[in-house]
């Protein structure tokens, strides 16, 4: 499973690079948007945590990984909106 996730991440990165090289830095670059979406969704799987959790003493503590999860979810949501607007 680890290898599969890394492969998907690499495919996402390659799609972004391919999109930028072949179509340039344009709003209509669907390949780059799709690659970024794939990369972000796969990345979220590395940081799947709740915002807070109990520690060994039973106290509520914030999970720092939730910040990284939020960033990737936000970028993934932007990519979904971006692709939707380009294809509606």
């Amino acid at each position: 499973m680890r290898v599969v996730k890394v492969v998907i991440l690499v495919v996402g990165v390659l799609a972004v690079i391919y999109g930028l090289v072949t179509r340039g830095l344009t709003v209509g670059n669907q390949v780059a948007a799709g690659g970024l979406l794939l990369f972000c969704l796969t990345s979220t799987s590395y940081f799947l945590v709740l915002p807070v959790s109990r520690d060994s003493e039973g106290k509520w503590r914030p999970n720092p990984d939730f910040a990284w999860l939020s960033i990737y979810l936000l970028v993934a949501a932007i990519c979904v909106g971006w692709l939707y607007l380009l294809n509606r």
Partner: protein
């Protein structure tokens, strides 16, 4: 663990990128590709323009509609009998067309200069046909359009105000 650290670094980069793009988007004036802009910048020309033939030197125009909350887009235009017409290839579905139908007052930018104008929908079928022909003479590829695609084209006559 290594991958997680790399992903954290990339996340920081993405967060900075999203912030910069958001800042640029919120402070934009010109449209960017299909993204509409806001109030256009440029030297505003006063005085009435009756002969728009000087516009032939430009490839596209930038329209700013809805004066209360400016919305600007790039559009194609056509000169027919010295009169300027802007066109919408998406018909009445286009947002700028809807705004222009609600309020015909707009500004048009040609070559860095802004003109205060009024856009009036052309409804005369003979004039629409003549404008189509003028466009197709200038760009023969447009003649390959299907009648349905052709019918989607709306034209607005541009007059100084």
């Amino acid at each position: 663990m290594v991958i997680k650290n790399v992903l954290k670094g990339i996340a920081v980069g993405l967060a900075v990128l999203v912030t910069v793009i958001l800042f640029l988007y919120l402070n934009r004036s010109d449209p960017y590709g299909p993204l509409p802009g806001k109030r256009l910048q440029g030297e505003e020309v006063t005085g009435r323009i009756d002969d728009w033939s000087f516009a032939a030197q430009y490839r596209t125009a930038t329209n700013e509609v809805r004066p209360s909350n400016p919305y600007s887009v790039y559009t194609s235009f056509v000169l027919h009998d010295e009169v300027l017409y802007i066109s919408s290839g998406l018909g009445p579905e286009s947002r700028w067309v809807q705004f222009l139908m609600e309020d015909p007052n707009m500004r048009i930018r040609l070559g860095g200069k802004l003109y205060k104008v009024r856009g009036t929908l052309v409804e005369d079928p003979m004039l629409i046909d003549a404008i189509h022909k003028t466009r197709e003479q200038k760009n023969p590829r447009l003649a390959e359009r299907t009648p349905q695609q052709r019918a989607l084209n709306l034209y607005f006559r541009i007059d100084s105000r």
